[in-house]
Homo-oligomer: 421 residues x 2
Amino acid sequence: MTDLPSIPSIDGPRLWTSIMDLARIGATQGGGVSRLALTDLDKEARCTFIKWAREAGCETRVDAIGNIFARRRGRSPDRPAILMGSHIDTQPGGGKFDGNYGVLAGLEIMRSLRDNNIETDADIEVVVWTNEEGSRFVPLMMGSGVFSGVCSLSDALSARDSEGVSVGEELTRIGFAGDGHVPHAVDSYFEAHIEQGPVLERTERTIGVVVGALGQRWFDCTVTGFESHAGPTPMTHRRDALQAASILIQRVVELAKSFAPNARGTVGQVAVHPNSRNVIPGRVHFSVDLRAEDEETLDSMASSLCETIETIKQNQSILIDLVEVSRVPAMRFDADCVALVDRSAREAGYDPLEIVSGAGHDAINLAKVAPSAMIFIPCEGGVSHNEIEHAEPDHVTAGANVLMRCICHRAGIVGVANPSH
Amino acid sequence: MTDLPSIPSIDGPRLWTSIMDLARIGATQGGGVSRLALTDLDKEARCTFIKWAREAGCETRVDAIGNIFARRRGRSPDRPAILMGSHIDTQPGGGKFDGNYGVLAGLEIMRSLRDNNIETDADIEVVVWTNEEGSRFVPLMMGSGVFSGVCSLSDALSARDSEGVSVGEELTRIGFAGDGHVPHAVDSYFEAHIEQGPVLERTERTIGVVVGALGQRWFDCTVTGFESHAGPTPMTHRRDALQAASILIQRVVELAKSFAPNARGTVGQVAVHPNSRNVIPGRVHFSVDLRAEDEETLDSMASSLCETIETIKQNQSILIDLVEVSRVPAMRFDADCVALVDRSAREAGYDPLEIVSGAGHDAINLAKVAPSAMIFIPCEGGVSHNEIEHAEPDHVTAGANVLMRCICHRAGIVGVANPSH
C-alpha cells in the first residue's frame, strides 16, 4: 500500500485565465460583464462551462430549473457528493468575479485533481446555479432556491421578466430546460466568493471564514403629507412628507450604527411626489433594508423604527405606512464545515478572519438541505455589482487552494488514479 | 353741475358665472382646468375673453407676445391708463381661479361701470398676460416679463416646449401674434388673485393687502458619495450620499423656521442614484428653494446652508456641490398703491391683512415699470395649482369690489356717461 498523495495546489494562472476568458462573454466597455440570466450570453457562458468541465473529465447534466452539475466520479459511488459552485449570471453592468469566481475555482479543482491523477473517495461536483442575481427574474437565488425547496419549481418556471417572457420559455429557448428536478443527495456544499465588502481588505486578510449571514428585513415606507405651493405656504402650515421621510432616513442609519459592528441600515430607493421644485412634497415612498446577525437585533431595529414613526405621527399631521416586503432570517453555517474552512485556510498558510456575509448567496439556500460553508476573498475597495469589480490574482489563487483543501478533506483522497500518467 | 356718482358695486353672481363659464374651456374630470399657454384651449379662452370685453364696450388689441389689452376709454385720453389683469393659462391639472379670477374681476369692473353709465377720467384697461404659469414654456410670467423688459421679445418668441414648438410659432398658429410690441404708458397696475396659501383663511380675513413679494434663491445640490452593496458594507465604511442629503434636507427647513414668519425653505425634487433597494446611494440630486422677505435674510439662509455643507464635507468623505440656478430679489409694491388697496378694502367694509406674496405674479414684473399692487382673497385650505382649488363666492365678490374702488380712485370718476340709459 502506497502513501496517500498530498492535496495538490491549484494552477493560479490557469484559473485567472479562465475567469478572464469567461468575462469576454458579455464584456462591457467599462471592463465589466453584463450577462443576465437566461439570455443568449448566459447560454454561451453555460456552454463554455460545460465544454471546459467535460475537458476536465466531468460528466454534466442539467436539472429542470437549468442548474448545471459537473460531476467527477470518486471511488465510492454510494457516498453523497461534495458540491461546490456559485453562479455565472451577472448584474447589468456587473463585474468579472461575482459568482464566476466560485464556479471557475470549482472547475480549477477538477482540472488540478485530474492533472495530479488524484482520486477522491466521494464524488465531487461543481454546480452552476441559475439566476442568482435576480436582475431579470425574481426571486433571486432561484436555482439554488428550487434545489433546496425554498422556491417551488412551478413558481420559478412561471416567473416573468419585464418583457413578459417566462423562465420556463427562456430555459427551453436556450436549451437548458433539463429533466432532473429531484435534488440528489449532497454531503456538503462549499462556495468561494469575493467578499463584496471592504472588511478583508481593510484588515489585510486573504481569507474570510464565513460563519453565517445577516438576517434581512425589507420594508416599503410611504409618508403622506399635503402637497402645497412652496412660496405662499408658511413653514408652520406645512405637512411636508419629505421632511418626515428624511427624519426616518437618518433614523435607519442611526439604528444600524447603534448595533455595531454587524448591523446594517440602508435607504436605497426614494420616490418623491409630485417631485417639483416649488411644490412641498405631498407623498414620499422609500425602501428600508435592515440587516443584523441575529433575529433579536433585527427585531429591535424594526421596533425602534416603528417607535420613531409613532413619534412623528403624534407630532405632525403626517401619515406613515410601513409594510414589510421581505424577510430572510439570520443564519449560521454548519459548524463542522466552517471549522473545515478555517483549518484548510491555516493549512494553506493563511490567518483567516471570521466574517458574516451581509449579502445573499446560493450557499444560504444550500444550508437548508446540506452542511454548507463559504470562503471569502477580498475585492478591491469592497466594490461589487460594478464594472470595476476587481480581485487580486494572489487572492483568487488563495481562495481556490482553500476550497481544494475543504473538498479533498471532505471527499477523502483515496489514491492516485493513474500513477503511470 | 351734478354730484359725481359714487363707486358702484360689482355684480357678484355675474362674475361667478363668468369664472365658471371660462373654466369649461379645458375642464378636467376632477373639477379643475388644464389649459396650457398657447394651446387650442388657450386660444378658445382668449377669444371668449375678447368677445366678452367687446360686449362690455372695450376696444381690444394684442401685442407681439400675445398679451391682450381691453381698453375702456376715459375722458382724458392723454392720461396714461390704469391697468388691471392677470392670466388665463393654467397649470396642467390646475384650478378655476388662479389667474382667471384677476382677469374676470377686471372684466366685471368694465361691465359694472358700463351698467352704471360711469365715465372715468383716465382710460382703464384689463390685461391678459401670456404664459404666466411657465408649465409649457420657460420663462414663466413671460407676457408681463416682455412688457416690463425683464425678458426680451426675441428670447420669449424663441422659447420652445418639450415637443420643440416655439412660442412664436404657436402665437402665429392660434392667431395671437400681435404687432404692438412697444409697451404703452401705464399709470398703475392692480392685480386681484387668490392667495394660494392658507394665511387669510386661518386668520379669517377676506382681503389681503399685498405689500411685496418674497425674494427667491433656487439651487441645485448634488451629493456624491460611493455606491456600494447594502449588505456587506459595514456602517463605518459607507459614503452614503442620501444620508448627507437628508441632513441638508432637514437643514433647509430649520433655516426657514429660524427666520419666521416670512421665510420659506423647500426641497421639492429629489433624485437618488442608482435608486436600488439594496445599494447604498452613490449620488443624490435635490432642489433647494429659499424665500425671504428681504435680501439680507435670504443671504443669511444661503450662507448658513453653505456652512452646513462645509461641516458635512469635513466630517464625511462626501462631495457636495451647490449651484444657484435662479434668483428673484425680494420686492415691495408701490407704497401709494398698497395704501390705496388698504383704503379701498376698509371703504368696502373689510379689515384687511397685510400679506407678503410667496409666489411669483405678473404684478411683480409690472412693478418694474409702473406703480403696482395686489389684492388677495382666501382660497380653501390654501390649495392652488390643483383641480380642487376653490374660492368662496363672497370672497370673489369682495376682492372685485376692492379692485373696483382702487381703479375708480386711481382713474377718477368724472361723471355719468349716458344718464338717459
